[in-house]
């Protein structure tokens, strides 16, 4: 049973319908894309009545597929103006899938902009929408506590919550998903989806899967056999089996620094002299000294276990990770080398419901204006708090790096399609520049993670400082990633999948055994191309052109130390990345 739950926030009514046959092979990012493509006028106001917000577990949601519990969230992005899929770990995807839901589709908006609502989806499939006006302005952690107080003590549930940033319609607002301990610390962070949720008056979604078993398989025995092969590949590979569980994602900080590709001081250098304080190795040492947890999964079924909790000097929980991207954005890019300061900023972002990548890049842009100094942690914290507490610089920060740069006269703004670049410098890692420029998402490393071959020697090697092969590398990774996102698989499975051929086979063996449908290599790649085709067509209809698939002009003219290189991949090569779209669109019957 795979159904869609439609929730109309104008009438406060819900309706559960079977998943249309045409989408029977779609889940996760493929399904959020298909629904947004189908229901959302590309030129609509992303916060208006015509906007739609979609939550969809991947195809492996609710199963024991290793690392298969990602939740895709889709909408038209208020930040980029294009289609957005932002996916997150946490417990909600499994819970929704166990209830039999392949998607929750939220439409309309309430007449009263001050009204706040909680949507509860119970294990028996019953659905309720309640007023929670008193929760207006509450941070994600307080909302999590308020929900806990309302639920039975023996309940088992996940939360999807929106902080004050989303309520205020800020373009850097993300949506929080609860982890295994119930902390609202996993995020569909990018692209302002929290603002879309806020525009619908939706403060929280609670999904209870108490007592529910895993989703049934067409062939349980075959699924379990393939699942064991997949799990073995994940634990055998040195990256997913040792590196990630030991150091977490922030193990990348030193290696990007060594490669000269670590964006520092608002993307003005590829090297951070004070990197040690925010490195993954130091983070592990301090966390262990303080008695914090350095190894757990962000969702049930994760075998990689790269999550960790940062604790204060007394050992009390502060925030997750911080993850590499957050330690980089809130640390390195702002020249802040103190992890307690980074964690304080991360916690504020988590509680407000702000994307840490966007906000770190935004603070660095603000520092570049000279209003506060690079490296001034207390000033950064004060600036971030000013979004909600008043004073300078105030709310504009919450609209992201570009809005802040424009407001304060900074001409060095690292964005593509209005979204801030993550933790890899395109001038020193040319492949990731191709991904930033061309992905329909706006600057997004996860869309086609060329760091694999450019820096890490996973899935081959492509010289990061040369242009040869970068467009092809990005294209193939964007297709493969779109496929993984449709299955709800964590992107980190890509490391073993790129190196161990049977891990890739195990994915379609699991898919076939789970669904009873035929899946093979061609079908996986076709799915990836279809996902990207929905996205490209939507963006074209929303007004995007080739000019939007470009990095900021200064990245092609201002050399980046220490390699003193510029971004040199040609426009023609960038425009070749999506050469498959017209043909795929025709095959899909969309053109």
């Amino acid at each position: 049973m795979r159904d869609i739950l439609y929730v109309d926030m104008a009438t406060l009514s819900t309706e559960r319908k079977p998943l249309p046959e045409k989408w029977s092979r779609y889940a996760g990012r493929a399904l959020t894309d298909a629904i947004v493509y189908d229901m959302v006028p590309p030129t609509c106001d992303p916060l208006g009545r015509g906007a739609v917000l979609v939550f969809a577990p991947g195809l492996f949601g609710g199963t024991s597929a290793p690392n298969g519990g990602r939740l895709s969230v889709g909408a038209k992005s208020p930040l980029t103006g294009g289609i957005k899929e932002s996916n997150s770990g946490g417990q909600a995807a499994h819970a929704l899938a166990k209830i039999g839901l392949s998607a929750v589709v939220v439409t309309g908006k309430p007449a009263d902009p001050l009204a706040r609502f909680m949507l509860s989806i119970e294990a028996d499939g019953s659905v309720k929408i309640e007023r929670v006006d008193g929760w207006a302005g509450l941070g994600n952690y307080a909302v999590a506590d308020a929900i806990k107080a309302l639920r039975p003590a023996d309940d088992h549930y996940a939360t999807i919550t929106n902080g004050p940033a989303g309520e205020a319609g800020l373009k850097a607002a993300g949506i929080a998903i609860s982890d295994m301990k119930g902390y609202p610390n996993r995020f569909a962070g990018r692209g302002g989806l929290g603002a879309v949720m806020g525009s619908k008056g939706l403060k929280a979604i609670v999904v209870s899967d108490k007592g529910l078993k895993g989703v049934e398989h067409a062939d349980k025995e075959a699924f379990n056999a393939a699942m064991k092969r997949f799990a073995k590949a994940l634990t055998d590979h040195p990256v997913s089996g040792v590196g990630l569980p030991t150091y977490g994602t922030n193990v990348l900080m030193n290696i990007l620094n060594e490669a000269g590709g670590l964006p520092t001081k608002n993307f003005s250098s590829g090297h951070f002299d004070d990197v040690e304080g925010v490195s993954g190795e130091k983070q592990r040492e301090v966390t262990l000294e303080r008695g914090g947890n350095v190894k757990h999964g962000c969702h049930t079924g994760c075998v990689i276990q790269c999550s960790r909790y940062w604790v204060d000097k007394e050992g009390a929980y502060v925030t997750k990770g911080p993850e590499y991207e957050s330690a980089w954005s809130l640390g390195t890019d702002c020249c802040i080398s103190d992890m307690d300061t980074v964690a304080a900023l991360d916690r504020l972002c988590g509680d407000y419901g702000l994307d840490t990548i966007e906000m770190g890049a935004t603070l660095a842009v603000y520092m570049d204006s000279g209003k506060i100094a690079f490296g001034d942690g207390p000033a950064a914290i004060k600036a971030l708090k000013s979004i909600f507490e008043g004073g300078e610089p105030g709310m504009v920060l919450g609209h992201g790096a570009e809005a802040t740069g424009l407001a304060f006269g900074v001409d060095h703004i690292p964005v593509v399609k209005h979204q801030a670049m993550p933790a890899y410098e395109p001038r020193a890692v040319q492949g990731i520049g191709v991904t930033y420029a061309t992905t329909p998402m706006g600057a997004d490393h996860t869309a086609g993670y060329t760091i694999t071959a450019n820096i890490l020697g996973v899935g081959g090697t492509v010289d990061p400082l040369k242009t040869a092969g970068q467009a092809e590398l990005s294209k193939n990774l964007q297709i493969a990633t779109a496929m993984l996102d449709a299955f709800g698989l964590c992107i980190f499975v890509a490391f073993p999948v790129l190196d161990i051929p049977d891990a890739f086979v195990a994915i379609y063996d699991m898919a076939a055994a789970h669904t009873g449908q035929a899946w093979d290599t061609d079908e996986l790649m076709k799915l990836g191309r279809e996902v990207l085709t929905f996205e490209r067509l939507f963006n074209t209809a929303a007004g995007f052109t080739a000019a939007d698939d470009r990095l900021p002009a200064w990245m092609k003219t201002v050399p980046l130390p220490p390699h003193n290189t510029v971004f040199e991949v040609t426009d023609a090569e960038l425009d070749s990345v999506f050469d498959f779209v017209p043909e795929t669109a025709k095959e899909m019957g969309l053109l």
């Binding site: 040195p238 997913s240 193990v251 030193n254 290696i255 060594e258 490669a259 040690e276 760091i451 996973v458």
Partner: protein, 79 residues
């Protein structure tokens, strides 16, 4: 010749001074020493590695030169 050697993640336990940490140590090496010779001398585990010489990826058979910085990482990734 003098070469600065930095070891990262769990490889830092292999620094000859036993102090760990990611900071580079100055090694006195014979002319013509290759990256692989340093790896052998440090008894690094037999597994894939990511090697940089002067911030550029380098093959393990490449020769080192006076004043070089050598950085070695175990197989790692994140994002």
């Amino acid at each position: 010749m003098k070469v600065d050697v930095a070891l990262f993640a769990y490889l830092s336990d292999h620094q000859p001074d036993g102090l760990g940490g990611r900071h580079a140590r100055a090694f006195d090496l014979a002319d013509g020493t290759r990256v692989a010779d340093v790896i052998a001398d440090l008894a690094l585990p037999d597994q894939p590695r990511i090697v940089f010489v002067n911030n550029r990826h380098a093959a393990e058979d490449s020769a080192l030169h006076d004043g070089d910085r050598l950085a070695i990482f175990p197989p790692i990734a994140g994002g």
